[in-house]
Symmetry: C2
């Protein structure tokens, strides 16, 4: 079992009444407490602008939030958890407001014996990151007798310049060791398992290179459209919202060299090395798309331009496909095809490793095209697991191949997989930054995508909602005789 965090703490949640707090953080915190994984002494201090809100109101809304997450109210454990919740109005970024916050934190410290261990979690819209961090720093909340940690949600910047600025601001007040940049994909069990899968299994590492691998595909497909997020999304697009963070994390974990140790710095060093080895993206290696009206799951859905909150002539991409290359000893010449889109036929996050064909001369009596390449499919969601597609002889037929699969599903072996946020929050509480994005990593990723961020330069291809993206995206791998994996 995971060791219980051995220090008491105060969890200070900015954006306490927001969607992320209600849907993800509160249920995750409750489940960690319920499973006895956190120190008995803890308090959660919700921060919001609303002055007409208080502890009681916060507890009431939080009870609703837990209920919404399938945690029924009324049990002793839920009551105990709710009793640990408090609310503090911080209506502006003034010194006075942040001084008051300080007094409240000190009071809770004393009351509950929290040893001044503090986690500031910014569950805020991106434009609030900068003033909040500044105000925390200027009020001296970056230091305490205990530990102080700062957790920042995505997006971390919207290009290289803004990411650098945000890093500089963070570093003005906090050391890199105190900063936890969230990419919730890193909390997913299958993603964490990528490194174990690669390096604890002697069967895979020897074939994990250009010598044996033909091409790699990373797909993060959403069935949903822009939903209620148009205000943010229309200024972001698929490249910023998904590719620069989630897909790049999957890519670096797939491609990285074995770290010297399984510790945060060693692993993140190797991830940064991958990013620094990537060849610059060329225009012809990227295809942008935007969904038009179509049919998803047998339901008519409107196009992106008809969505509420989207600019009438928006050129924001809801789909992005890329061909990327890593210029190092392991990967030179192996294309990495990445794609992510909204309004795809189904929700699916997968990494597909296609191995080279065996020498076929041996099988020529049976037709050379009879042999399909082996594929390893790592499913991140839904139905997490591994599939290994391999060739078997079809019974009864002299030597005709058929592609079959060996498979492993987490849900067949483990009752429950922890939610990504449970994993990540526990890591924050334990002070383990392995699954968080380091400053140089986030900058290296933005640097890679810098040439693609200017919308005026892009062609945007339309695709029907419910399709796998624009035809131009098929042409991208087709240049090398490759097809997208799950079409």
């Amino acid at each position: 079992m995971t060791p219980t965090t051995d220090q008491p703490f105060l969890f200070v949640a900015f954006g306490a009444t927001g969607d992320l707090m209600q849907r993800k953080l509160l249920p995750a915190l409750f489940r960690l407490a319920e499973r006895g994984l956190v120190h008995r002494s803890y308090r959660i201090l919700g921060i919001g602008r609303a002055k007409d809100f208080d502890d009681a109101a916060f507890r009431k809304s939080s009870a609703e939030a837990l209920k919404g997450a399938g945690i029924p109210a009324g049990s002793p454990r839920v009551r105990e958890f709710l009793a640990a919740l408090h609310y503090q109005a911080v209506p502006d970024f003034s010194a006075a407001s942040y001084a008051k916050l300080g007094e409240r934190m000190d009071a809770l410290d004393r009351e509950a014996g929290l040893e001044s261990n503090r986690i500031f979690y910014l569950a805020l819209p991106p434009q609030a990151f900068e003033p909040t961090i500044s105000a925390l720093g200027e009020a001296g909340h970056n230091r305490a007798r205990g530990f102080v940690r700062l957790v920042i949600e995505k997006p971390f910047g919207r290009d290289l310049v803004s990411a650098r600025e945000l890093n500089e601001l963070c570093h003005r007040w906090f050391s890199e060791q105190q900063i936890y940049r969230i990419d919730h994909y890193l909390g997913k069990e299958t993603v964490q398992n990528l490194l174990v899968f690669r390096f604890a299994n002697s069967l895979f590492e020897p074939v994990w290179s250009r010598d044996r691998i033909e091409q790699v595909q990373i797909t993060v497909a959403e069935e949903l459209g822009v939903e209620t997020r148009a205000q943010y999304y229309d200024h972001a697009g698929a490249l910023r919202d998904m590719v620069q963070n989630h897909l790049i994390q999957l890519l670096t974990l797939t491609a990285m060299e074995p770290p010297a140790k399984f510790d945060a710095e060693a692993i993140r060093n190797e991830k940064v090395k991958v990013l620094r080895s990537m060849e610059p993206l060329r225009e012809e290696d990227v295809v942008f798309g935007q969904y038009a009206a179509g049919v998803v799951d047998a339901t008519d859905v409107r196009g992106y331009l008809e969505e509420e909150g989207v600019a009438p002539k928006s050129r924001t991409e809801t789909y992005c496909a890329l061909r990327m290359s890593i210029a190092n000893w392991r990967w030179q010449g192996v294309p990495f095809y990445l794609r992510s889109g909204k309004r795809m036929p189904r929700r699916s996050s997968q990494i597909t490793i296609s191995f080279r064909c065996p020498p076929v001369a041996m099988f020529q009596p049976f037709g050379s095209c009879a042999v399909s390449p082996n594929q390893l499919v790592i499913t991140v969601q839904p139905d997490e697991g591994f599939d290994l597609h391999f060739e078997v002889k079809a019974p009864d037929e002299p030597l005709r191949m058929r592609t079959e699969r060996m498979h492993f599903r987490y849900h067949d072996s483990f009752d429950t997989l922890p939610e990504a946020y449970e994993t990540l929050l526990l890591d924050v509480l334990q002070g383990d930054p392995t699954l968080f994005v380091r400053a140089d990593e986030v900058e290296a990723s933005w640097e890679l995508f810098s040439p693609l961020l200017e919308p005026s330069k892009r062609a945007i291809h339309s695709y029907s909602a419910g399709s796998w993206g624009p035809p131009a995206a098929d042409a991208l791998p087709a240049r090398e005789g490759v097809r997208w994996a799950n079409k």
Copy 2:
């Protein structure tokens, strides 16, 4: 689909009223005919000593045999099949008897337009092989206008000398291309698939060597005791009955180099090369056992010496374990552990490939013994398939490994697997000798085991029926820190 054999034929079955014919050959021949895989014009001529037997009696007993194999009598297809059965008494090895046989074959040829294509199948006890082959040859039945093929059941000799003599006799009358030495293990789907698995999958061949494989185990365990076969078995023993043929076939298919082509000669050349590369067996690399009374499947069973037909002080082994080595570039230093026994806890034929542990320094924070080696388990029977044991991260635990498996079962993907005898008989009809043992192969195998065949030199260890063999057999791999796989 498999092409239908394109030539009519006469199948001449010596031992027509015997167990093998009734239980295996007749059902297999019927199923091939039922599935339309054989030429429409065929006849089956059963040969026996009994003179008071005729076509009608043979058809009647064959109908019973089919019923016993789950093929109900009375359908048009069964009637059609039975009508193709004939019986010829061949009471002795005289020229007269074999001349009469020739007349009968000629008559059936004319009647049914069989173009003098003939298969002689010797479903006989081993002592009858030699006189039957001689009589066939002296009567000139080794030649015909059409093809003539000779199928010989196991055991092919009982040591190197007798195997050579039998080969010489065969070759006096038949060319090697006409001779089909049966090892019914080679007809099993999983065994045939070994070569496809190895050479049509680019994932496995690169790791299939001493660089990546720690040790290989081949187990053929039977739950049954000697049953009604004591008369034969007590003069044979496990080494002759199972190891020298079936286990060695599994070993050579596992260890062989890729053949230049998937054809009979190329594949059998590579198998012989493995046998010729094997290091001589030393006394300390072999453990013999004999079952004592015990409990199998919750039933008390008697010991081997109490079995009917077994000599009172028999020193025949019912269990044999070996450590073998292949002195070539691929396998030098990789032990191959083989074992076979009667009265084991369950029926199981498996090949277990254990890969080397990954370098563990990386995982030291979690304890070096946390990583188990990958294993590939190929199940030949029952429940044919592949299991790949690999390490995953246990959810919720920082980086603790757990061994899980990916698996593939033939029965999940294919409705029915053909019986080994269906496969082998079809190959004989089609003239494909790939799955039959070549003269030099059988001799190389006997040569290897020659030093072990003298019973007086052996220690025989007792083991309880229902156990996995004598403790001395555990000590064999334990010398290298290895344990038998399915204990």
